[in-house]
């Protein structure tokens, strides 16, 4: 402030822009400072940032709560609609072996695939997973479920031919202790012998002996799977547990396929027994896995079954979504289902048409009511508003049961009509368990959601506009249509989107009054989740419905603004 003189000491008289010039001078010298000596701008920014952080800190608990309890479940559902790990998890070897198989050709897979299938099915049936996979694949190919269950029962006996031969050859192969002596590492053997089952400690994790998987790769793999299963699922002692038949067949494969030199060079425990087994194995009786599976069920030689398994081997699939829009995966890519199997298109279409019908009838019934509420004196309007709010507050189940009571063949409406003689007793109207029932009941249930937004918009329309239009010579109709109606459109829009969003996702009311022809897509979703247990398809249908609703929600937010939702 040194170069600007104070008015009292200045040579010239003070002028009004002194303050301005002083401020300019101050700016030239540097930023304006706050009380604590920091630049004001920085200080302000800091305060703003603190404010933002405080606001976020207040919102954060709820946001996290909603993300965990609500958004995560929705994300999980979306994930389930594409997830398909069950096939490759249950049949890991088979799906790997199937990769080279030409699904478009007309030959069934070769022996190697069937052998892999034997291994997989053996472990799957021990873990009781085969029937789950069977029902999964049954959604795509009818009959697979029973095929898998049947196979699961018989597959255990299939490999016993090797077990018997090895055990006949040498009693050494009979017991688990002997197997672990050369399959397991020395540390593990020491650990397992020191382990006390009653102590409550966990059984030590099985470890393969170094180098054994080079000589006996298939056996090592099967034995590891076996050991893990026995340890975690059966909770038996791996050390003493006698091996399953599947290990003998892997062992046979290893012995006959491995080069003799590797086995000859082996010098670890049980080397002698392995060598003698290797020489004897060449003369063993073998089995033809392909034929053995054919014996269990001839469907194993059906190319469709193998194509289904191959198509659904990837970890993720769009199969559920294709199903949800009446298509199916085939070997040449997605294709429409046959005419008589298409149900979801009809269901989506019906949901759409009925929701639109319900929305339109709500507009038709809600508009006059909203008008009269907005144009009556406040006291009367409040009284009538209670008639709208009471249904709004009454339990949904109460209203649905009321409609069930009213609409039945022996219900209140039919009884009244018969009593009045408008309908003959044996000719009662069918109002329930069809689309009529759903439309009537849902119109009633959703009507308040239409009236309330319309009412709040109409309250803001000045009645003088109408009078002005009439005094300018408009007829009643013109005044309404050209002046009042355009102003009430935001209310109609808000109410319609709200009602439509609520209608397309409705479950309870269609379930109770809709019968079979009046149900919505939601009822199908519920069916797949609780009855047919085809969760993936239910999730895919849900994802499509969710996408439709979110689109409408976005439109609602654009048109009305989500902040402007009013209740009551």
């Amino acid at each position: 402030m040194s170069d600007i003189k104070d008015a009292t000491t200045a040579d010239t008289a003070p002028t009004p822009d002194d303050a301005l010039r002083m401020a300019d001078a101050a700016e030239k010298k540097g930023p304006v400072l706050a009380a604590d000596g920091r630049p004001l701008k920085q200080s302000l920014n800091r305060a703003l940032r603190l404010q933002k952080l405080r606001a976020l800190a207040l919102v954060a608990p709820l946001l996290i709560f909603v993300l965990v309890t609500f958004i995560a479940p929705i994300a999980d559902m979306l994930f389930r609609s594409v997830e398909n790990e069950i096939v490759s998890e249950t049949l890991p070897k088979t799906t790997a072996a199937l990769e080279d198989w030409d699904a478009e050709g007309d030959t069934i897979p070769d022996e190697a695939v069937f052998e892999a299938l034997y291994d997989d099915m053996f472990f799957a049936q021990e873990a009781k997973l085969h029937s789950r996979l069977g029902s999964r694949l049954n959604y795509e190919q009818t009959g697979v479920s029973s095929l898998f269950r049947k196979t699961g029962r018989s597959v255990e006996d299939m490999g016993e031919v090797f077990q018997d031969q090895f055990e006949d050859l040498d009693d050494f192969w009979k017991t688990g202790e002997n197997w672990t002596s050369f399959m397991a590492s020395d540390e593990w053997l020491a650990d397992i012998q020191a382990w006390d089952a009653d102590s409550g400690d966990r059984q030590p994790r099985f470890e393969l002996r170094d180098g054994i998987d080079d000589i006996l790769p298939a056996t090592a793999e099967s034995y590891t799977r076996f050991a893990n299963y026995v340890r975690t699922e059966d909770e038996d002692n791996v050390y003493t547990e006698d091996p399953w038949a599947v290990i003998y067949s892997s062992f046979y494969d290893d012995l006959t396929r491995a080069d003799a030199a590797a086995i000859a060079a082996y010098s670890g425990p049980a080397a002698e027994q392995i060598k003698s087994a290797a020489t004897a194995a060449t003369g063993f009786e073998t089995i033809d896995y392909s034929e053995a599976f054919l014996d269990i069920d001839e469907d194993w030689h059906s190319i469709d079954v193998w194509r289904t398994i191959k198509i659904y081997s990837p970890k993720f699939t769009n199969g559920y979504f294709l199903n949800a829009i009446d298509m199916q995966k085939s070997i040449d890519g997605p294709e429409l289902r046959p005419e008589n199997e298409r149900i979801y298109g009809i269901l989506f279409w019906r949901t759409m048409v009925m929701s639109i019908t319900i929305t339109l009838s709500c507009i038709l019934l809600g508009y006059p009511v909203a008008w009269i509420l907005a144009n009556l004196p406040a006291r009367n309007a409040n009284l009538l508003l209670i008639l709208v709010l009471l249904p709004f507050w009454t339990s949904l189940l109460v209203r649905t049961s009321a409609w069930k009571v009213m609409l039945q063949q022996q219900g209140v409406i039919n009884d009244t009509l018969v009593w009045l003689g408008l309908v003959a007793t044996d000719d009662r109207l069918v109002l329930i368990n069809n689309q009529t029932g759903t439309i009537i009941a849902m119109t009633h249930i959703l009507l308040p959601f239409m009236i309330l937004p319309m009412y709040s918009v109409m309250q803001t329309i000045q009645p003088t506009y109408l009078r002005a239009a009439k005094s300018l010579g408009a007829t009643n109709w013109t005044a309404f249509w050209r002046v009042y109606f355009p102003q009430s459109i935001p209310g109609i829009g808000a109410g319609s989107i709200l009602v439509f969003i609520l209608a397309i996702g409705y479950y309870i009311t269609p379930e109770i009054v809709g019968g079979t022809s009046g149900t919505f897509i939601s009822n199908r979703i519920a069916y797949h989740i609780s009855s047919s247990l085809n969760w993936g398809l239910g999730a895919a249908l849900g994802a499509i419905l969710l996408a439709a609703v979110l689109l409408l929600y976005y439109a609602y937010d654009k048109i009305v603004g989500i902040d402007n939702v009013k209740l009551g």
Binding site: T69, L387, S395, L397, V398, R399, G421, N476, Y507, I562
Partner: protein, 392 residues
């Protein structure tokens, strides 16, 4: 409204045909009931037209003739259809007496602007009748449930005894069933255990977040709002399916906590909406003044802000409560038999075993909702008064 229009008596050539037309309309029902439509229409028109003329021109005494007509029609109704006929007859007698003199004295024009043409007057009353019919549509289902819940039989419809107003046709047995049956009592207990806890969760988190959201500078306000409101928008069946999958992954499916968490999530949008609406009118200088006088933020919140937004918080809480108390889809999937709530039990009752106990429960629930509605309305007015807005 004041009487705008001077009224005068109308000519018989106006009101007699109008009353006769009404008579013809109601004659349709009596005629079809008795077997002949045509006789009903003509008879109704002739009788009512003649009665209107007699009452206005010959008896002339309004009170006496209206009473007389009510008794006369009631008797006719009794002869035709017994006790129900008597009730309906009394109503129609009263209605026709009212209608005749309303038209005859010209009262129907009293509250309408004087410049309306007869056509506009007709439209005015037609429109009101249509609105009345819609209100009837809105309220009838709820009203019908109540008398039916006193049914002595296990029917979902009015029995002849009920229509004769025979005391034997009525009983409290469905209420007794509700209060003594273990299924219903368990369901009630579960509902009462789940809803308040869910409400408490959503109100406490929701109020805090609403206060945060109404601060002037909130980053990503729109996105956060969209996420918080989404439980209200996403169809319940999808929420239910997602929660079923996810909660069974984390071991909450079929547990009390799982249901409470699910219901709390569903109630949150209502709390957010009502509380932010209350905060719109909140004067920020009040909290600044409190801070200025040395109150710390917690004191400011509880002593200054909370009392002012309390009506909004409570009505948000009531919304959350009724959401949880009425909710059936999510609890069907997330809950197990141990969490069977009242709406779930009603749903089973409606779908499988048709038992009129549902109607008794429905009646009780209607009374609960009337109480809640009253509380919410009172709170809304109080809140508007507190914020200086006139109650509309």
């Amino acid at each position: 409204m004041v009487a705008l229009t001077p009224i005068s008596r109308t000519a018989p050539s106006f009101y007699v045909p109008v009353v006769a037309a009404f008579g013809a309309f109601f004659g349709v029902f009596i005629g079809t009931g008795q077997g002949s439509l045509l006789i009903g229409v003509i008879g109704g028109a002739v009788i009512m037209g003649a009665l209107a003329f007699v009452m206005t021109k010959i008896i002339k005494n309004e009170t006496a003739s209206r009473w007389g007509l009510a008794v006369l029609v009631a008797l006719a109704g009794f002869l035709l259809a017994g006790i129900p006929g008597l009730v309906i007859g009394t109503f129609f007698g009263w209605f026709f007496g009212f209608l005749t003199f309303w038209l005859y004295e010209g009262r129907y024009r009293a509250k309408l602007p004087p410049y309306l043409t007869p056509g506009q007057v007709l439209w005015h009353f037609t429109f009101r009748t249509i609105c009345g019919a819609i209100f009837v549509f809105l309220i009838t289902p709820i009203l019908v449930v109540m008398p039916l819940s006193f049914n002595a039989e296990n029917f979902f419809t009015f029995t002849p005894e009920m229509l004769r107003f025979d005391p034997a046709g009525y009983s409290l047995k469905h209420y007794r069933d509700f209060f003594t049956n273990d299924d219903w009592q368990n369901a009630l207990r579960n509902s009462v255990q789940i809803a308040p806890v869910a409400t408490l969760l959503s109100v406490s988190f929701g109020t805090l977040a609403a206060i945060g959201l109404s601060q002037p500078h909130v980053p990503f306000r729109r996105a956060i709002m969209a996420i918080l409101i989404s439980p209200m928008i996403v169809p319940l069946i999808i929420s239910a399916a997602g929660m079923y999958f996810f909660y069974s992954r984390v071991g909450l499916q079929g547990t009390y906590i799982g249901v409470v968490l699910a219901h709390a999530a569903l109630g949150i949008p209502f709390v957010i909406i009502t509380v932010t609406a209350t905060l719109v009118g909140f004067d920020r200088s009040l909290t600044r003044a409190a801070a200025n006088m040395g109150a710390n933020p917690v004191t400011t919140f509880f002593r200054v802000q909370m009392p002012l937004i309390l009506p909004g918080v409570i009505s948000g809480g009531l919304f959350a409560f009724i959401t949880s108390f009425d909710e059936v889809v999510v609890v069907l999937f997330v809950g197990s038999a141990g969490q069977k709530t009242l709406p779930w039990q009603m749903f089973i009752g409606l779908r499988e075993q048709i038992s009129p106990t549902i109607l008794a429960v429905a009646t009780i629930l209607v009374f609960i909702s009337i109480c809640l509605l009253t509380v919410v309305e009172l709170l809304r007015r109080r809140s508007e008064r507190l914020r200086g807005m006139s109650p509309s």
